[in-house]
Symmetry: C2
DNA sequence: ATTTAATGCGTATAAAATACGCAAACAAGG
DNA sequence: CCTTGTTTGCGTATTTTATACGCATTAAAT
């Protein structure tokens, strides 16, 4: 069967991911620099067009892998962006997800088929991005805050273990507000997924912190 | 600019809505009977293809209006369904929303350009639907339960007022579990959006109930 | 030894959720 | 007219969760 109605021909899906990390209490997002038009040489969130032979989440992960090298990441739905002229090329509807990763665990590809650069950029320092990616990023930050308590976001940030002060600082960075240190500890340790190791930090000029890890 | 890569040509978006109501403690969803192929004469959720000149939520509301006559409804995002062959015609990605309405407030169109019938069907009695709409409906029911406490869903079901026993029964129907009557009352009345009228129900063989309404 | 700074543990209070007792209001039936 | 059956409406007691905050412990620096 062939569709005749031109009202819905040549639509496409953009799979856009806001990939976050937190470095020393600074929330950052992965941006790539576009090699091609449209928006050549502009910074953008990671993403691209969905292929006809793949599902949306699969397309997200392929784009993430192709443009950053990241291959193992959990994604969470964030939003849909369908302004009619959001792409100058053809009608494209963006579906956006968020993901979180420990930036020290991965080496980001700086040059690929379609990107000439890539970097973790503090969310307080975001330039004008391609397409409507600034808007997508704003929604992504809200999603990040909404999901932090009921997903493995914190776990993704500390694959090798963490101290309570470390993870507390990260939590505050994501929520962008002060959380009582002692109450945070209590809530965190009531989580059965967290186990204490017998290691501690050392040589930092004050009391060493116990290292925990996620099951 | 023209897109050459055939990997993402001729994709389309399905805007699919699961519109719910609750009648006497029975949760029901609006189904329409398709007039055309594919899936001619099968029941389906309300929806259709997004036009190139409209945004997703706009397309949802247009489809709802065209196929049911409902024109005033709040929608909440539910899910994305992108199985490669979910449509036999061309590559279509479904975006689904839920909405809730008091079925007594509207007259559903039974015959339109594209539908030969329409009805409120109890969720325990859903037939095999067109496309992947059974799957979309399962997700929609989850969304309905997730959103009931933090949206105007209950308000939509009682546009003219309600008694506590009525709304309690509806709440239990949606969550599909027993909620303590007295605690539900307390929680509901702590909501500042609810005001007491000086009317009560009458002549029902027991104590009359006070009629409340939403601001 | 003392100071300084951060960690780890504890208690007290407030707010929200849950469990459940019981009187008041009405219709129906003797 | 009084009793029975049923549902509404209001109340209290308990548990759980969230919030506020005091203070001793540990280690480096002096």
């Amino acid at each position: 069967m062939e569709v005749k109605n031109p009202l819905y021909k040549n639509q496409g899906i953009h799979c856009i991911s806001a990939i976050f990390t937190v470095e020393k209490g600074i929330t950052k997002v992965l941006l790539i620099k576009r090699k091609n038009n449209p928006y050549k040489d502009m910074w953008a969130l990671v993403g691209g067009a969905l292929y006809n032979n793949e599902e949306v989440e699969q397309g997200m992960k392929r784009e993430i892998y192709e443009k950053s090298g990241i291959s193992d990441i959990n994604l969470y739905f964030s939003g849909i962006f369908s302004r009619v002229n959001r792409s100058p090329v053809m009608r494209m509807i963006a579906i956006s997800y968020i993901g979180v990763i420990d930036s020290e665990r991965v080496n980001i590809l700086k040059d690929t088929m379609k990107t000439s650069n890539a970097d973790w950029v503090a969310i307080t320092n975001i330039p004008k991005l391609a397409y409507d990616h600034n808007e997508i990023l704003i929604r992504a930050l809200e999603t990040l805050q909404e999901k932090i308590d009921n997903t493995d976001i914190l776990k993704s940030l500390f694959p090798y273990g963490f101290t309570i002060p470390e993870i507390h600082k990260t939590y505050e960075a994501i929520l962008n507000k002060i959380i009582d240190r002692r109450n945070f500890r209590k809530k965190l340790l009531s989580n059965k997924q967290i186990i204490e190791t017998n290691a501690t930090t050392k040589f930092e000029g004050n009391k060493p912190a116990i290292i925990y890890r996620f099951k």
